[in-house]
């Protein structure tokens, strides 16, 4: 098991290296630079700015400088947020994104799993149709539509919750973004869980369990649930990474100081170091999440072993 983990981590290094290299050069070939704005800067001033950020050096030299800094754990200075290093920005934004994303996933599992199970058990009943149409609705309506409507209804018209803002993570500020972020996930998880549960319930070992005389509740909870959750678990890996770093839309709409905003703002501002920082961080997170999912598999499915 340990050797497997180490092997996977070792494989992650070339993967990340490729991601970093491609992103570095892609970012530089994008037209427009960090100092292109409505007002073109006089050449003297542009030269000063470029010198400060070493943009006056040849590109391969800049690449080597960046990689060297990265090896030393330094993501470099942000071009736009000058009072902070990229590392500090990510470290400030990540806990916020993690909190919102983690809560959203937890909420999605808490609601999505039971909904999926119920729909599977009551297949083709009114309850099933109801849950599945809700799920279809949840998938079909994007969160950039749901979020402003929720903010308008609960924040402005009813005034129950703040229409936006973070306020140090106070719970009233968490409710709307977490719910908005989880709706789509609830829908996905419920649908996935339903399909997988139906398949599992039709398998031989469930028939055996029933033949032993177990009641339906015991069959589902003790025998069917774990194998039925496998597809959901494999979906969770990328979903968590995606939600935690990529809740861009929700962070923008509710004005939440997470990491997703840096990614988008950084790209639009051609803030090279900030974009690279978030890409590296995101890449590492995805690699890590996929590894965790694979390890979780062996817990859920005894047929999977990582012994070699």
């Amino acid at each position: 098991m340990l050797s497997y983990i180490l092997k996977r981590l070792a494989f992650a290094i070339p993967t990340l290296l490729i991601v970093i290299t491609i992103s570095f050069f892609l970012m530089r070939v994008a037209p427009g630079g960090p100092f292109d704005g409505e007002r073109q800067l006089p050449p003297e001033i542009e030269a000063n700015l470029e010198a400060v950020y070493h943009l006056d050096e040849p590109l391969p030299m800049q690449y080597l400088r960046y990689m060297n800094n990265l090896v030393h754990g330094d993501f470099g200075p942000s071009f736009k947020y000058k009072d902070f290093s990229v590392t500090e920005l990510i470290m400030q934004g990540f806990p916020v994104s993690l909190e919102i994303g983690g809560l959203a996933i937890a909420l999605a599992l808490l609601i999505g799993l039971p909904l999926g199970v119920i729909a599977a058990l009551k297949r083709n009943s009114a309850a099933d149709y109801f849950v599945m149409s809700l799920a279809l609705g949840g998938i079909a309506v994007p969160n950039f539509v749901i979020a402003p409507i929720m903010a308008l209804v609960f924040g402005v018209l009813l005034g129950w919750l703040p229409a936006g803002g973070w306020n140090g993570g106070a719970w009233p500020n968490l409710v709307l973004p977490v719910v908005a972020l989880s709706i789509q996930q609830i829908a996905y998880i419920a649908r996935m869980m339903r399909a997988s549960m139906i398949e599992t319930l039709g398998s031989h070992f469930i028939r055996t369990a029933r033949a032993k005389g177990l009641n339906e509740m015991q069959v589902v909870m003790r025998h069917a649930l774990r194998p039925a959750m496998l597809p959901v678990v494999s979906y969770l890996g990328p979903a968590i990474a995606g939600i935690v770093t990529g809740s861009v839309v929700i962070e923008q709409i509710f004005g939440i100081p997470g990491i997703g905003r840096y990614f988008v703002q950084g790209a639009l501002n051609r803030d090279y170091t900030l974009v690279m920082g978030t890409v590296v961080f995101y890449g590492a997170l995805i690699v890590l999440m996929n590894l965790l999912v694979d390890l979780l598999y062996s817990v859920l499915d005894p047929q999977i072993r990582y012994d070699d």
Partner: protein, 527 residues
């Protein structure tokens, strides 16, 4: 700051807000500050905070006019090249006196290449400034010196009509030399020593920044607000929602045009609009091709009906423009593009005749690409202008791209016609006209050259008398308009959401709203 500490802080803040009667203003400050260091800013929203923290020798009043700041008065030599500022008896927030040495330190730092200040060129009139900024001479050679503790002398190479305006900008603020020389990170909460009306409270990036009244400010007794909370709301709709739910009292971001109509109907008391020193125009690439022909440029200008664009297409209160320098800018003369005041049929027939002369007609159409940066309003204007050009036989292809790509293409001269917006950095016609003179950024992009124009602009830089100077600039502008070098469309209007509880907010040409002059009445019902 860890999450737990943020929470504790939020709790303490909410307790404090509940117990006292502190006058707190909640402001949408448009964006996350790039830096609180006044010499490293890139945005208006950076400068707003910096100006609250650091007073300048020359300050700005609520109506945008210049007033004495840390300098109680100043005088200038007859030839307009030697400025003497007399500092008042004021102190940094740590009690240290603010001296002329601090001002010298700050101006030298501003022009040091490593500071890489974006507006450094506005100070190039100061003796040796450009050479210092290029790294050719040491900062000590800059033409600024402290005559004594409270007298600063600035020597210019030539008169500069906007020098006082530049001295009122955030970058020119005297800085606490005794703190900065101690180490790099001088501008963090708890570590910052300020001269302005407010001190830096806490700063949670992307969330909020708090300013507290500075008891050491020289006019602290005139500051009504105890606390200002600034939120970086990048999504303007988020700002409107928070304003409607009473969580912000003032939005310093521009209200998006799509919401102006709704606000006029539903919250007319909260919408404040006023002329702003910005020009929305189309830039022609006059280097080569059909637009090098002045007749074509004139024809394209003649058939664009600005009032239809501002009133019918946009409906946001923008002012139709027939000139290059917005009317609200100080010293703006009476320059205007010829022919645009003629009756419409006359304009159309003249335009058609000009196009025929130039060899274009519906049978031999002129094909142009009109570039704009992706935005709903820009698209609407572009579609309208293309439709107005159509009777002349112009076939327009619209091309939009994100801002960074758009401006990079303009600066590289890769366009026929391009949407351009110019917002004044200083309240002076030179800010607009200088960019079209030889070597100016807009001239470099469009390829426009005219010796008479450049000559008039250069002449303005030698004149100490404001009247003579404005005359020269008006002459220059008229030349530019006679050449139809650009296609002016409208002058900007600044639009903000201001709660009726906020007092002291005045619309003004530079859209500057110093926090020290604002006040707020407490809410009538408990929150």
């Amino acid at each position: 700051m860890t999450l737990r500490r943020c929470r504790v802080l939020a709790l303490l803040l909410s307790l404090a807000a509940g117990s006292g009667q502190a006058a707190t203003l909640h402001v949408d400050n448009e964006g996350e500050p790039g830096s609180l260091d006044p010499q490293k800013s890139n945005n208006q929203w950076d400068a707003r905070i910096q100006k609250a923290l650091f007073d300048r020798l020359v300050d700005v009043a609520a109506d945008g006019t210049l007033i004495p700041g840390l300098a109680r008065s100043w005088d200038v030599s007859a030839d307009g090249t030697v400025w003497t500022f007399h500092l008042r008896d004021a102190r940094w927030s740590d009690g240290t006196p603010i001296t002329a040495e601090d001002a010298v330190f700050s101006l030298r730092r501003l022009l040091t290449p490593a500071t890489a200040n974006r507006n450094a060129n506005l100070y190039y009139a100061i003796h040796n400034a450009r050479a210092v900024n290029l790294g050719k001479t040491p900062p000590e050679s800059l033409g600024v010196d402290a005559v004594d503790e409270s007298t600063l002398r600035v020597t210019l190479d030539h008169p500069s009509g906007y020098f006082l305006e530049a001295m009122a900008m955030a970058e020119a603020a005297p800085l606490p030399a005794h703190v900065i020389t101690r180490g790099e990170r001088w501008i963090t909460p708890g570590n910052t020593v300020v001269s302005g009306a407010f001190t830096l409270g806490d700063w949670i990036p992307q969330s909020r920044l708090t300013l507290d009244r500075n008891p050491a400010f020289y006019a602290a007794d005139t500051v009504a607000l105890d606390k200002v909370v600034m939120y970086p709301l990048e999504d303007t709709n988020d700002a409107i929602r928070r304003f409607r739910s009473g969580r912000i009292d003032l939005s310093l971001a521009q209200v998006p045009s799509s919401r102006i109509d709704w606000l006029r109907t539903n919250m007319p008391e909260a919408l404040q609009q006023g002329p702003w020193a910005g020009e929305y125009f189309y830039m022609f690439n006059v280097r080569k091709g059909p637009l090098a022909d002045a007749r074509v440029r004139e024809a394209l200008n003649l058939v664009v009906r600005r009032d239809i664009i501002t009133d019918k297409i946009l409906g946001t209160g923008m002012i139709p423009s027939t000139r290059f320098v917005p009317g609200a800018v100080s010293g703006q003369g009476d320059a205007t593009m010829p022919g645009l005041d003629a009756p419409w049929p006359e304009r159309l027939s003249k335009a058609k005749a000009l196009m025929k002369d130039a060899g274009y007609s519906p049978a031999h159409p002129l094909r142009l690409t009109l570039r704009y940066n992706t935005n709903d309003d820009h698209r609407k204007v572009a579609v309208a202008v293309a439709a107005m050009w159509k009777p002349l036989g112009v076939e327009t292809t619209l091309y939009n791209s994100e801002a960074a790509v758009h401006y990079a293409a303009i600066h590289a001269g890769q366009f026929d016609v391009a949407r351009y917006g110019m917002i004044a950095t200083v309240n002076d016609p030179f800010d607009f006209l200088g960019s079209m003179a030889q070597g100016g950024s807009a001239a470099e992009s469009s390829g426009y050259t005219n010796a008479a124009f450049t000559e008039a602009v250069r002449e303005s830089e030698t004149l100490a008398s404001p009247e003579a100077r404005f005359d020269a600039l008006t002459r220059a502008e008229q030349q530019l308009l006679d050449d139809h070098a650009v296609l002016p469309i409208y002058e900007y209007v600044a639009s903000h959401l201001v709660s009726p509880r906020v007092h002291g907010f005045e619309s003004n040409v530079m859209d500057e709203h110093p926090l020290r002059f604002l006040s707020i009445t407490p809410p009538t019902s408990g929150e």
